[in-house]
Protein backbone atom coordinates (compact mmCIF):
# COMPACT_ATOMS: atom_id res chain seq x y z
CA UNK A 1 0.00 0.00 0.00
CA UNK A 2 1.34 3.45 -0.89
CA UNK A 3 2.08 5.84 1.96
CA UNK A 4 0.60 9.34 2.10
CA UNK A 5 2.31 12.38 3.58
CA UNK A 6 1.25 15.94 4.33
CA UNK A 7 3.53 18.44 2.60
CA UNK A 8 1.60 21.71 2.56
CA UNK A 9 -0.86 23.59 4.77
CA UNK A 10 -3.26 26.44 4.04
CA UNK A 11 -5.77 28.02 6.39
CA UNK A 12 -8.01 31.04 6.64
CA UNK A 13 -9.62 31.07 10.07
CA UNK A 14 -11.17 33.23 12.77
CA UNK A 15 -7.75 32.98 14.46
CA UNK A 16 -5.61 34.15 11.58
CA UNK A 17 -5.28 33.66 7.87
CA UNK A 18 -2.15 31.53 7.96
CA UNK A 19 -1.63 28.06 9.53
CA UNK A 20 1.32 28.84 11.82
CA UNK A 21 -0.36 32.03 13.02
CA UNK A 22 -3.53 30.00 13.65
CA UNK A 23 -1.58 27.46 15.72
CA UNK A 24 0.32 30.14 17.67
CA UNK A 25 -3.03 31.71 18.59
CA UNK A 26 -4.40 28.32 19.66
CA UNK A 27 -1.40 27.72 21.90
CA UNK A 28 -1.84 31.22 23.37
CA UNK A 29 -5.48 30.45 24.15
CA UNK A 30 -6.75 33.33 22.04
CA UNK A 31 -10.34 33.47 20.87
CA UNK A 32 -11.74 34.12 17.43
CA UNK A 33 -15.27 34.38 18.79
CA UNK A 34 -16.60 37.94 18.59
CA UNK A 35 -19.74 40.00 18.24
CA UNK A 36 -20.91 40.02 14.65
CA UNK A 37 -20.92 43.30 12.77
CA UNK A 38 -23.46 42.38 10.09
CA UNK A 39 -26.42 44.69 9.49
CA UNK A 40 -28.85 41.97 10.62
CA UNK A 41 -27.23 41.47 14.03
CA UNK A 42 -30.09 43.19 15.90
CA UNK A 43 -32.50 40.55 14.62
CA UNK A 44 -30.43 37.70 16.07
CA UNK A 45 -30.80 36.15 19.50
CA UNK A 46 -27.21 34.99 19.16
CA UNK A 47 -24.97 37.88 18.19
CA UNK A 48 -21.62 36.11 18.40
CA UNK A 49 -19.75 34.13 15.79
CA UNK A 50 -16.20 33.19 14.84
CA UNK A 51 -15.75 35.19 11.67
CA UNK A 52 -12.82 35.74 9.35
CA UNK A 53 -11.22 39.08 8.49
CA UNK A 54 -10.74 38.98 4.75
CA UNK A 55 -10.97 41.67 2.06
CA UNK A 56 -11.83 39.70 -1.06
CA UNK A 57 -11.85 42.68 -3.43
CA UNK A 58 -8.38 43.75 -2.31
CA UNK A 59 -7.19 40.19 -2.79
CA UNK A 60 -8.91 39.10 -6.00
CA UNK A 61 -10.06 42.34 -7.66
CA UNK A 62 -13.68 43.29 -8.16
CA UNK A 63 -14.46 41.09 -11.15
CA UNK A 64 -13.11 37.84 -9.76
CA UNK A 65 -14.37 38.50 -6.23
CA UNK A 66 -17.89 39.16 -7.52
CA UNK A 67 -18.05 35.82 -9.32
CA UNK A 68 -16.92 33.77 -6.29
CA UNK A 69 -19.11 33.15 -3.26
CA UNK A 70 -17.31 33.83 0.02
CA UNK A 71 -16.90 30.07 0.49
CA UNK A 72 -14.99 29.85 -2.80
CA UNK A 73 -12.91 32.90 -1.96
CA UNK A 74 -11.87 31.01 1.18
CA UNK A 75 -11.15 27.71 -0.56
CA UNK A 76 -9.07 29.37 -3.24
CA UNK A 77 -7.13 31.39 -0.68
CA UNK A 78 -6.34 28.32 1.45
CA UNK A 79 -5.48 26.18 -1.59
CA UNK A 80 -3.03 28.76 -2.91
CA UNK A 81 -1.34 28.91 0.49
CA UNK A 82 -1.12 25.13 0.71
CA UNK A 83 0.36 24.79 -2.79
CA UNK A 84 2.94 27.50 -2.09
CA UNK A 85 3.71 26.03 1.31
CA UNK A 86 4.31 22.62 -0.27
CA UNK A 87 6.61 24.19 -2.87
CA UNK A 88 4.74 22.41 -5.68
CA UNK A 89 5.85 23.48 -9.15
CA UNK A 90 2.47 23.85 -10.86
CA UNK A 91 4.16 24.34 -14.25
CA UNK A 92 5.74 20.92 -14.35
CA UNK A 93 3.49 18.79 -12.15
CA UNK A 94 1.39 16.07 -13.82
CA UNK A 95 -2.06 17.67 -13.49
CA UNK A 96 -3.80 14.43 -14.41
CA UNK A 97 -2.42 12.90 -11.20
CA UNK A 98 -3.48 15.84 -9.00
CA UNK A 99 -7.01 16.42 -7.73
CA UNK A 100 -9.08 18.15 -5.09
CA UNK A 101 -11.48 16.76 -2.47
CA UNK A 102 -13.28 19.39 -0.47
CA UNK A 103 -15.88 19.36 2.27
CA UNK A 104 -18.58 21.96 2.78
CA UNK A 105 -21.83 21.92 4.68
CA UNK A 106 -23.74 24.76 3.07
CA UNK A 107 -21.71 25.61 -0.06
CA UNK A 108 -22.53 29.04 -1.44
CA UNK A 109 -25.02 29.89 1.32
CA UNK A 110 -24.66 33.65 0.88
CA UNK A 111 -25.38 33.46 -2.85
CA UNK A 112 -28.52 31.40 -2.26
CA UNK A 113 -29.68 33.86 0.34
CA UNK A 114 -28.89 36.90 -1.80
CA UNK A 115 -31.00 35.38 -4.55
CA UNK A 116 -33.96 34.84 -2.20
CA UNK A 117 -33.66 38.37 -0.84
CA UNK A 118 -33.82 39.78 -4.36
CA UNK A 119 -36.78 37.64 -5.35
CA UNK A 120 -38.91 37.53 -2.22
CA UNK A 121 -38.04 40.73 -0.38
CA UNK A 122 -37.12 43.09 -3.18
CA UNK A 123 -39.55 41.60 -5.71
CA UNK A 124 -36.87 41.55 -8.39
CA UNK A 125 -37.80 39.87 -11.64
CA UNK A 126 -34.39 38.40 -12.39
CA UNK A 127 -31.37 36.93 -10.61
CA UNK A 128 -27.67 37.44 -11.25
CA UNK A 129 -26.44 35.07 -13.97
CA UNK A 130 -23.75 33.75 -11.64
CA UNK A 131 -26.22 32.70 -8.95
CA UNK A 132 -26.21 28.99 -9.79
CA UNK A 133 -22.45 28.90 -10.26
CA UNK A 134 -21.77 30.64 -6.96
CA UNK A 135 -24.37 28.77 -4.93
CA UNK A 136 -23.75 25.19 -6.04
CA UNK A 137 -22.13 23.01 -3.41
CA UNK A 138 -19.15 22.09 -5.59
CA UNK A 139 -18.28 25.72 -6.41
CA UNK A 140 -15.58 25.97 -3.75
CA UNK A 141 -13.71 22.92 -5.07
CA UNK A 142 -14.34 23.93 -8.64
CA UNK A 143 -12.77 27.38 -8.10
CA UNK A 144 -9.52 25.68 -7.07
CA UNK A 145 -9.63 23.15 -9.90
CA UNK A 146 -10.11 25.93 -12.44
CA UNK A 147 -7.41 28.16 -11.00
CA UNK A 148 -4.77 25.41 -11.05
CA UNK A 149 -6.07 23.46 -14.07
CA UNK A 150 -6.29 20.23 -12.07
CA UNK A 151 -7.21 17.20 -14.17
CA UNK A 152 -7.40 14.53 -11.47
CA UNK A 153 -10.45 13.71 -9.34
CA UNK A 154 -12.61 16.60 -8.09
CA UNK A 155 -15.25 15.76 -5.48
CA UNK A 156 -17.24 17.64 -2.88
CA UNK A 157 -18.29 15.96 0.34
CA UNK A 158 -21.25 17.29 2.27
CA UNK A 159 -21.73 15.47 5.55
CA UNK A 160 -22.35 18.50 7.77
CA UNK A 161 -19.76 18.90 10.54
CA UNK A 162 -17.58 15.99 9.38
CA UNK A 163 -17.42 17.03 5.69
CA UNK A 164 -13.75 17.93 5.60
CA UNK A 165 -12.64 14.93 7.65
CA UNK A 166 -14.28 12.73 5.04
CA UNK A 167 -12.71 14.81 2.24
CA UNK A 168 -9.21 14.42 3.70
CA UNK A 169 -9.74 10.74 4.46
CA UNK A 170 -11.06 9.93 1.00
CA UNK A 171 -8.26 11.95 -0.64
CA UNK A 172 -5.79 9.92 1.43
CA UNK A 173 -7.40 6.77 0.04
CA UNK A 174 -7.15 8.08 -3.54
CA UNK A 175 -3.39 8.35 -3.18
CA UNK A 176 -3.03 5.23 -1.06
CA UNK A 177 -4.80 3.13 -3.66
CA UNK A 178 -3.02 4.67 -6.62
CA UNK A 179 -5.68 6.83 -8.27
CA UNK A 180 -3.74 10.07 -7.69
CA UNK A 181 -0.28 11.19 -6.58
CA UNK A 182 -1.09 14.62 -5.16
CA UNK A 183 -4.38 15.74 -3.62
CA UNK A 184 -5.55 19.07 -2.26
CA UNK A 185 -7.91 18.14 0.56
CA UNK A 186 -9.86 20.02 3.20
CA UNK A 187 -12.96 22.09 3.59
CA UNK A 188 -14.49 25.53 3.32
CA UNK A 189 -17.53 27.13 4.89
CA UNK A 190 -19.05 30.61 4.85
CA UNK A 191 -22.51 30.33 6.37
CA UNK A 192 -22.72 33.39 8.58
CA UNK A 193 -25.79 34.67 6.78
CA UNK A 194 -29.01 35.87 8.40
CA UNK A 195 -31.08 32.89 7.24
CA UNK A 196 -28.51 30.28 8.19
CA UNK A 197 -27.94 31.70 11.65
CA UNK A 198 -31.69 31.89 12.30
CA UNK A 199 -31.97 28.24 11.26
CA UNK A 200 -29.27 27.31 13.76
CA UNK A 201 -30.95 29.40 16.46
CA UNK A 202 -34.09 27.35 15.92
CA UNK A 203 -32.16 24.15 16.70
CA UNK A 204 -31.32 25.60 20.15
CA UNK A 205 -27.71 24.46 19.95
CA UNK A 206 -25.96 27.85 19.79
CA UNK A 207 -23.94 29.09 22.76
CA UNK A 208 -25.21 31.88 24.94
CA UNK A 209 -22.91 34.89 24.87
CA UNK A 210 -20.65 34.98 27.94
CA UNK A 211 -21.60 38.10 29.87
CA UNK A 212 -18.05 38.97 30.89
CA UNK A 213 -16.22 37.99 27.73
CA UNK A 214 -17.88 37.23 24.39
CA UNK A 215 -14.69 35.43 23.34
CA UNK A 216 -15.18 32.89 26.14
CA UNK A 217 -18.69 31.83 25.10
CA UNK A 218 -17.78 28.40 23.76
CA UNK A 219 -17.04 26.10 26.73
CA UNK A 220 -16.47 22.50 25.58
CA UNK A 221 -16.64 19.80 28.28
CA UNK A 222 -17.51 22.41 30.93
CA UNK A 223 -20.46 22.19 33.30
CA UNK A 224 -21.63 25.62 32.17
CA UNK A 225 -21.37 24.92 28.43
CA UNK A 226 -24.33 26.25 26.49
CA UNK A 227 -23.69 25.25 22.89
CA UNK A 228 -21.56 25.80 19.83
CA UNK A 229 -20.45 29.02 18.18
CA UNK A 230 -20.85 29.17 14.41
CA UNK A 231 -17.67 29.94 12.52
CA UNK A 232 -16.37 30.28 8.98
CA UNK A 233 -13.12 29.73 7.10
CA UNK A 234 -11.20 27.11 5.19
CA UNK A 235 -8.40 24.63 5.71
CA UNK A 236 -6.66 22.80 2.88
CA UNK A 237 -3.69 20.45 2.99
CA UNK A 238 -1.48 19.04 0.27
CA UNK A 239 -1.30 15.25 0.44
CA UNK A 240 1.36 13.43 -1.58
CA UNK A 241 2.44 9.92 -2.23
CA UNK A 242 5.51 9.45 -0.03
CA UNK A 243 8.06 8.36 -2.67
CA UNK A 244 7.32 11.27 -4.97
CA UNK A 245 7.38 13.72 -2.08
CA UNK A 246 10.80 12.37 -1.02
CA UNK A 247 12.07 12.44 -4.61
CA UNK A 248 11.35 16.15 -4.96
CA UNK A 249 12.83 16.90 -1.54
CA UNK A 250 9.54 18.11 -0.08
CA UNK A 251 9.19 19.22 3.51
CA UNK A 252 7.10 16.50 5.15
CA UNK A 253 4.97 17.65 8.07
CA UNK A 254 3.44 14.28 8.91
CA UNK A 255 2.09 11.06 7.50
CA UNK A 256 -1.58 10.18 7.44
CA UNK A 257 -1.63 6.70 8.89
CA UNK A 258 -5.28 6.16 9.66
CA UNK A 259 -8.77 7.08 8.56
CA UNK A 260 -12.04 5.64 9.72
CA UNK A 261 -15.54 6.62 8.86
CA UNK A 262 -18.81 5.23 10.09
CA UNK A 263 -22.46 6.08 10.38
CA UNK A 264 -23.93 6.88 13.79
CA UNK A 265 -27.42 5.88 12.85
CA UNK A 266 -29.49 6.23 15.99
CA UNK A 267 -30.79 9.79 15.53
CA UNK A 268 -30.32 12.74 13.21
CA UNK A 269 -28.80 14.98 15.92
CA UNK A 270 -28.18 12.79 18.98
CA UNK A 271 -24.84 10.99 18.89
CA UNK A 272 -24.13 7.66 20.55
CA UNK A 273 -20.90 6.45 22.10
CA UNK A 274 -21.12 3.25 20.04
CA UNK A 275 -21.40 5.15 16.77
CA UNK A 276 -18.47 7.44 17.56
CA UNK A 277 -16.35 4.58 18.90
CA UNK A 278 -16.79 2.64 15.69
CA UNK A 279 -15.09 5.36 13.65
CA UNK A 280 -12.21 5.70 16.15
CA UNK A 281 -11.65 1.93 16.11
CA UNK A 282 -11.71 1.90 12.31
CA UNK A 283 -9.04 4.62 12.18
CA UNK A 284 -6.82 2.82 14.71
CA UNK A 285 -7.20 -0.41 12.79
CA UNK A 286 -6.31 1.32 9.50
CA UNK A 287 -3.17 2.75 11.14
CA UNK A 288 -2.27 -0.51 12.85
CA UNK A 289 -2.05 1.38 16.14
CA UNK A 290 -3.23 0.74 19.69
CA UNK A 291 -4.94 3.38 21.87
CA UNK A 292 -1.71 3.68 23.89
CA UNK A 293 0.06 4.91 20.76
CA UNK A 294 -2.14 8.01 20.50
CA UNK A 295 -0.59 10.99 22.30
CA UNK A 296 -3.34 13.53 21.71
CA UNK A 297 -6.95 13.60 20.56
CA UNK A 298 -8.37 16.73 18.97
CA UNK A 299 -11.97 16.20 19.99
CA UNK A 300 -15.07 17.05 18.06
CA UNK A 301 -15.94 18.85 21.33
CA UNK A 302 -18.76 21.08 20.16
CA UNK A 303 -19.76 22.32 23.63
CA UNK A 304 -23.33 21.17 23.07
CA UNK A 305 -25.13 19.45 25.93
CA UNK A 306 -25.20 16.15 24.09
CA UNK A 307 -21.90 15.81 22.25
CA UNK A 308 -19.38 16.30 25.01
CA UNK A 309 -20.46 13.55 27.48
CA UNK A 310 -21.10 11.13 24.61
CA UNK A 311 -17.67 11.81 23.10
CA UNK A 312 -16.14 11.36 26.55
CA UNK A 313 -17.88 7.99 26.83
CA UNK A 314 -16.85 6.92 23.34
CA UNK A 315 -13.20 7.76 24.03
CA UNK A 316 -13.42 5.69 27.22
CA UNK A 317 -15.01 2.84 25.32
CA UNK A 318 -12.17 2.76 22.76
CA UNK A 319 -9.22 3.78 24.92
CA UNK A 320 -10.14 1.86 28.07
CA UNK A 321 -7.68 2.54 30.86
CA UNK A 322 -5.59 4.73 28.57
CA UNK A 323 -8.46 7.23 28.26
CA UNK A 324 -7.59 9.03 31.50
CA UNK A 325 -3.94 9.45 30.42
CA UNK A 326 -4.64 10.69 26.92
CA UNK A 327 -4.83 14.47 26.50
CA UNK A 328 -8.04 15.48 24.70
CA UNK A 329 -8.78 19.07 23.72
CA UNK A 330 -11.45 20.94 21.84
CA UNK A 331 -9.91 23.80 19.90
CA UNK A 332 -13.46 24.83 18.95
CA UNK A 333 -13.37 26.72 22.26
CA UNK A 334 -11.20 29.21 20.35
CA UNK A 335 -11.93 28.95 16.61
CA UNK A 336 -15.62 28.09 16.89
CA UNK A 337 -17.37 25.49 14.78
CA UNK A 338 -16.44 25.99 11.14
CA UNK A 339 -18.91 23.31 10.08
CA UNK A 340 -17.75 21.88 6.75
CA UNK A 341 -14.29 23.39 7.29
CA UNK A 342 -13.91 22.54 10.93
CA UNK A 343 -12.34 19.09 10.60
CA UNK A 344 -9.77 20.48 8.18
CA UNK A 345 -8.57 23.28 10.45
CA UNK A 346 -8.57 20.85 13.38
CA UNK A 347 -6.51 18.40 11.33
CA UNK A 348 -4.08 21.24 10.59
CA UNK A 349 -3.93 21.91 14.35
CA UNK A 350 -3.06 18.22 14.82
CA UNK A 351 -0.32 18.30 12.17
CA UNK A 352 1.18 21.42 13.77
CA UNK A 353 0.87 19.83 17.22
CA UNK A 354 3.14 17.04 15.91
CA UNK A 355 5.53 19.53 14.34
CA UNK A 356 5.82 21.71 17.45
CA UNK A 357 5.39 18.87 19.94
CA UNK A 358 2.75 21.00 21.62
CA UNK A 359 -0.86 20.43 22.59
CA UNK A 360 -3.38 23.26 22.29
CA UNK A 361 -5.77 23.70 25.23
CA UNK A 362 -9.50 23.52 25.74
CA UNK A 363 -10.25 27.07 26.80
CA UNK A 364 -13.09 28.30 29.03
CA UNK A 365 -13.11 25.12 31.06
CA UNK A 366 -13.56 26.48 34.59
CA UNK A 367 -16.68 24.65 35.78
CA UNK A 368 -16.33 20.86 35.78
CA UNK A 369 -19.01 18.48 34.52
CA UNK A 370 -18.93 15.10 36.33
CA UNK A 371 -19.87 13.40 33.06
CA UNK A 372 -16.79 14.87 31.39
CA UNK A 373 -13.79 13.67 33.38
CA UNK A 374 -10.93 13.18 30.92
CA UNK A 375 -7.76 15.26 30.68
CA UNK A 376 -9.04 18.07 28.47
CA UNK A 377 -5.84 20.16 28.67
CA UNK A 378 -7.84 22.87 30.45
CA UNK A 379 -7.10 26.53 29.77
CA UNK A 380 -3.36 26.14 29.19
CA UNK A 381 -1.59 24.52 26.26
CA UNK A 382 1.34 22.16 26.80
CA UNK A 383 4.75 22.42 25.16
CA UNK A 384 7.68 19.99 25.03
CA UNK A 385 5.41 16.98 24.94
CA UNK A 386 6.36 13.78 23.11
CA UNK A 387 3.83 13.23 20.34
CA UNK A 388 4.14 10.49 17.73
CA UNK A 389 0.54 9.87 16.70
CA UNK A 390 -2.45 12.18 17.04
CA UNK A 391 -6.15 11.63 16.39
CA UNK A 392 -8.71 14.08 15.06
CA UNK A 393 -12.38 13.31 15.75
CA UNK A 394 -15.25 14.65 13.68
CA UNK A 395 -18.90 13.77 14.12
CA UNK A 396 -21.95 15.21 12.47
CA UNK A 397 -25.67 15.81 12.31
CA UNK A 398 -26.93 13.15 9.97
CA UNK A 399 -24.54 10.57 11.39
CA UNK A 400 -21.36 10.58 9.33
CA UNK A 401 -18.30 10.21 11.57
CA UNK A 402 -14.75 10.75 10.38
CA UNK A 403 -11.58 10.05 12.37
CA UNK A 404 -8.10 10.85 11.04
CA UNK A 405 -4.76 9.80 12.49
CA UNK A 406 -1.58 11.72 11.68
CA UNK A 407 1.86 10.48 12.66
CA UNK A 408 5.37 11.89 12.80
CA UNK A 409 7.05 10.93 9.56
CA UNK A 410 9.67 8.20 9.72
CA UNK A 411 10.95 6.69 6.51
Amino acid sequence: MRRVVVTGLGAITPLGNQPEQFFTNLMAGKSGVRRMQAEFVDQLDTKIAAWVDFDAIAHYGKHKASSLDRVSQFSLYAATQAIENAGLDMETIDKARMGIYLGTGMGGAASVEEGYIRLYRDNATRLKPFTVLMAMNNAAASAVGLEYKLAGPNLTFSTACSSSSIAIGEAYRQIRHGYADVMLAGGAEALLTFGTIKAWEALRTLAKEDEQDAGASCKPFAGDRSGLVLGEGAGIVVLEEMESALARGANIYAEITGFGSANDSSHITQPTADGQAYAMRAALSCAGLQPADIGYINAHGTATALNDPVETASIKQVFGERAMQTPVSSTKSMHGHLMGATAAVEFIACVLALKHQSIPPTMNLQVPDPQCDLDYVPNQGRTNVALTNVMSNSFAFGGTSGVLIASLFKQ
Partner: protein, 82 residues
Protein backbone atom coordinates in the same frame (compact mmCIF):
# COMPACT_ATOMS: atom_id res chain seq x y z
CA UNK B 1 -27.42 63.41 -20.35
CA UNK B 2 -25.17 60.42 -20.79
CA UNK B 3 -25.65 58.27 -23.85
CA UNK B 4 -26.47 54.58 -23.85
CA UNK B 5 -22.88 53.95 -24.89
CA UNK B 6 -21.46 55.89 -21.91
CA UNK B 7 -23.70 54.05 -19.46
CA UNK B 8 -22.85 50.66 -20.93
CA UNK B 9 -19.15 51.53 -20.93
CA UNK B 10 -19.37 52.28 -17.21
CA UNK B 11 -21.12 48.97 -16.57
CA UNK B 12 -18.33 47.10 -18.36
CA UNK B 13 -15.62 49.02 -16.50
CA UNK B 14 -17.23 48.43 -13.11
CA UNK B 15 -17.95 44.78 -13.70
CA UNK B 16 -14.90 43.49 -15.48
CA UNK B 17 -12.05 45.86 -14.55
CA UNK B 18 -11.48 46.60 -18.25
CA UNK B 19 -9.52 49.71 -19.32
CA UNK B 20 -11.85 52.48 -20.46
CA UNK B 21 -9.79 53.21 -23.60
CA UNK B 22 -10.42 49.70 -24.94
CA UNK B 23 -14.17 50.04 -24.82
CA UNK B 24 -15.01 51.40 -28.29
CA UNK B 25 -18.26 50.93 -30.24
CA UNK B 26 -16.57 48.68 -32.78
CA UNK B 27 -14.78 46.53 -30.17
CA UNK B 28 -16.01 42.96 -30.11
CA UNK B 29 -16.99 41.53 -26.74
CA UNK B 30 -14.53 38.74 -27.41
CA UNK B 31 -11.67 41.25 -27.86
CA UNK B 32 -12.56 42.67 -24.44
CA UNK B 33 -12.12 39.21 -22.96
CA UNK B 34 -15.82 38.63 -22.29
CA UNK B 35 -17.00 35.05 -22.74
CA UNK B 36 -20.64 34.02 -23.07
CA UNK B 37 -21.15 33.93 -19.32
CA UNK B 38 -19.64 37.41 -18.91
CA UNK B 39 -21.93 38.61 -21.69
CA UNK B 40 -24.97 37.35 -19.79
CA UNK B 41 -23.66 39.10 -16.72
CA UNK B 42 -23.31 42.36 -18.68
CA UNK B 43 -26.80 41.98 -20.11
CA UNK B 44 -28.14 41.40 -16.60
CA UNK B 45 -26.70 44.75 -15.47
CA UNK B 46 -28.00 46.46 -18.60
CA UNK B 47 -31.49 45.06 -17.92
CA UNK B 48 -31.36 46.43 -14.38
CA UNK B 49 -29.99 49.82 -15.42
CA UNK B 50 -32.21 50.46 -18.43
CA UNK B 51 -35.28 48.73 -17.01
CA UNK B 52 -35.68 46.39 -19.95
CA UNK B 53 -36.01 42.67 -20.48
CA UNK B 54 -33.72 41.09 -23.04
CA UNK B 55 -35.35 37.96 -24.47
CA UNK B 56 -33.18 34.89 -25.12
CA UNK B 57 -33.75 35.35 -28.85
CA UNK B 58 -31.93 38.70 -28.74
CA UNK B 59 -28.58 37.73 -27.28
CA UNK B 60 -26.80 37.29 -30.61
CA UNK B 61 -24.49 40.26 -30.18
CA UNK B 62 -20.87 40.62 -31.22
CA UNK B 63 -19.75 44.21 -30.64
CA UNK B 64 -20.30 46.94 -28.08
CA UNK B 65 -22.30 48.81 -30.70
CA UNK B 66 -24.61 45.78 -31.15
CA UNK B 67 -25.36 45.96 -27.44
CA UNK B 68 -25.99 49.71 -27.57
CA UNK B 69 -28.39 49.30 -30.51
CA UNK B 70 -30.17 46.42 -28.81
CA UNK B 71 -30.63 48.42 -25.62
CA UNK B 72 -31.91 51.49 -27.50
CA UNK B 73 -34.40 49.40 -29.45
CA UNK B 74 -35.69 47.53 -26.41
CA UNK B 75 -35.99 50.70 -24.35
CA UNK B 76 -38.20 52.13 -27.07
CA UNK B 77 -40.24 48.93 -27.58
CA UNK B 78 -40.72 48.23 -23.91
CA UNK B 79 -41.40 51.77 -22.73
CA UNK B 80 -44.63 51.86 -20.75
CA UNK B 81 -47.48 53.34 -22.76
CA UNK B 82 -48.01 57.02 -21.94
Amino acid sequence: MSTTFDTLKQIVIDKFDIEAAKILPEATLESLGLDSLDTFDMIFSAEETFNIKVPNSEVDIKTVEDVVNLIDRLVKEQAPAA
